[in-house]
Symmetry: C2
Subunit: 408 residues, 2 copies
């Protein structure tokens, strides 16, 4: 194991992980998907000039000069309802009762709000001139035919889905959602999800359920691989390209057996079955992390210690899932939410190693590191508010240093 | 319609919306759920003192005084593997080969790393004293029996799921996930999702698909209500307690027909079927918004303009869904992500009204408002990076003002 720097390891991911193929996704399922092709509108939104308020459609010029001492009267000639097009044009001296959202009748270029027009018999009386275009949404004001309403590479937000619906897009071309299988490795592990009975010397597997939930948060399709016993043949059979457990998966993740101890089969098995691109990264925790390829599938070897597995997911597996989903590299590697803060207490580290320190906010809005070390202590993550990265050029971060917190 | 202030309207939600009932949720489905009861560990994590590295378990006192010029020799008496408990205690002068994660044998209180011990025949030679406890995770170091590992009201994060698995929690008590039905209202609307054919005077419904996606993002169970025609009887039948369309729903949302125009049936129908708690809020956009109760169900009347519907969801429906899910009020009403910034351009408003201005970041990191008004223009949302709230005490916000941006 010849440890790489964090930057070099992430550069390998960035270069070698490409978006999954595009597929057609119906509009009702498009939320969260990343577009493989831009969506170009074929229509105008709105498709016609429409009233923005309930009131009377008029010709603005008919109202010019209207004032309390010289009101203008317009005859209410007809009514226009939403969803119907008026067959009749508005003549000079006429007004049409109109509802919000209804198409403006031909000839009309403004709407007087209901409360600003006094209805007397079949006429309205106006005491104020109406500027042309008032209370009217112009045809194509929001979107013109030919406009790109969502660019390729965009992760569709709910409001994008609204806009796609507005232009009548029935389906979009989006990258496939990555599917992922999570395995835990170790003879000492008990499966809490399948309610395995406790036994002496054994511990409940925290990593499997945690990694599955982490992948779900990224929108991946998740399958349980369960627990692998510490036997070379078992591990090999489970991870082989085309194995039943991994069939159809774009990504597999194992936690445990990742280092170079007596029963750490993973690096060897991955090398044999495919290619181990990186093994060992000068970071803390999670330095035995590795990743490579088995068939067409990406494989990640995460350490068995839960905090290390968690860090490995956050800084390696998550960006890989985002690249597969079709996000641009800068976006794929960007932390979800960050906040600037000052350090309430020093974080020690060593030059040449990148440290991921779990921190929490103090009452006065600064951040302090939680107990470092203890890669087995998941409570240092559940109690944390975020992570501060100590870059490898530094021996640590001093009290009072300005840091960027990667928020949980 | 006698408009309330934003603060008064939200106070009504806060007071009247209570968490949904608790149910038992298996661990594998617990991610994202809000705990109705705390989870108390019945076990220690780790359940026994365990080795944190591969190496040799020793009695630390046997190594005291070890130095390059006076090495200590220990006989390697047996081996301990993960998942197995050693039946044998470590005697003085002995060491045991041990693997990461294996239980410490009785009598041993430290582990020498493999690379720090020279194996010669069946003995190891140490040239440095081992501090007691070195490379050992103490029993219960992470969690002690009786510890609360997750408090009631906590929205379970992936790492919480890991910790719950670690303590062998097979299921948790969590609040029900709110289920929601979304209707759009208007004769002018076409359904893009069901691929309705265009017709003159009609527009595609943007709100339904958008509101469905917004609710999905909050983790709600979403059902399509589809488009309601502008007929009193139709609206009434769809929204009545126990109607087929709304059966089992905790929340219904309609967009359109919310104001007080000729065919704005919603306020009247909701009043008749249940209670309209609030109708009309002095905000912009979305001032015709309302909400109340029909049977046991919450009902929201959102305006038909897409931007107004979007604002109504974000500042009214979202916190209500979060309250129903079991989050504490402060958390339910808290924006998801905010960032402080300076205004690059003035945002005008009027005293007495709270404005929600869509903004985007400029190249130099300040924020500028997108075209205000145009409540129909969904592109002012899809192009936005966030929302700045102009409080009702102010006539607007000046260029250079420090603002908190509610990020999209």
């Amino acid at each position: 194991m010849n440890p790489t720097t964090l930057e070099a390891a992430l550069a390998v991911l960035r270069e070698r992980v490409a978006p999954l193929a595009a597929e057609t996704v119906p509009l009702g399922a498009a939320y969260g998907r990343v577009l493989a092709a831009p969506v170009v509108s074929t229509v105008f939104v709105p498709p016609f000039a429409k009233a923005m308020v309930d009131g009377y459609a008029c010709r603005a010029e008919d109202t010019f000069g209207a004032a309390p001492f010289s009101p203008r009267e317009l005859r209410v000639a007809f009514e226009v309802m939403p969803g119907a097009v008026s067959g009749r044009a508005l003549a000079s001296g006429e007004a049409a009762r109109i509802m919000t959202g209804a198409p403006m009748p031909e000839g009309a270029d403004g709407v007087v709000m209901l409360e600003h027009a006094a209805l007397e018999g079949s006429a309205i009386r106006l005491v104020q001139a109406l500027p042309p275009g008032k209370n009217v949404a112009a045809r194509g004001e929001d979107v013109a035919a030919g406009d790109v309403v969502a660019a390729a590479g965009r992760a569709l937000r709910p409001e994008d889905v609204g806009l796609l619906a507005a232009v009548g897009a029935r389906a979009v071309s989006a990258h496939r959602i990555p599917s992922l299988v999570v395995f835990s490795s170790g003879d000492e592990l008990l499966d809490a999800v399948s309610e395995e009975a406790p036994r002496a010397g054994a511990i409940f597997d925290a990593n499997g359920p945690m990694l599955e939930a982490l992948a779900r948060r990224e929108g991946a399709l998740v399958r349980r691989g369960g627990i692998l016993r510490d036997e070379r043949a078992t591990v090999r059979a489970a991870l082989a390209a085309g194995s039943e457990a991994t069939r159809g998966a774009d990504v597999t993740v194992t936690s445990g057996a990742a280092s170079k101890g007596k029963e750490d089969w993973m690096p060897e098995v991955v090398s044999e079955l495919g290619a181990l691109w990186v093994h060992g990264v000068s970071i803390r925790p999670a330095h035995p992390i590795g990743f490579g390829r088995i068939g067409e599938r990406l494989h990640f070897l995460l350490p068995g210690n839960p905090v290390a597995a968690w860090i490995g997911f956050r800084y390696f597996v998550r960006p890989a899932l985002r690249l597969l989903s079709g996000l641009a590299p800068d976006e794929a590697f960007r932390p979800e939410r960050t906040r600037s803060a000052l350090l309430a207490r020093k974080i020690p580290s060593v030059i040449g190693r990148t440290d991921f320190a779990r921190v929490r906010f103090t009452e006065d809005g600064r951040v302090e590191p939680l107990r470092t070390g203890g890669a087995g202590m998941l409570t240092t993550v559940t109690r944390a508010d975020g992570v501060v990265v100590v870059p490898r050029e530094l021996e640590g971060l001093e009290e009072g240093a300005a840091v960027e917190v990667d928020l949980l």
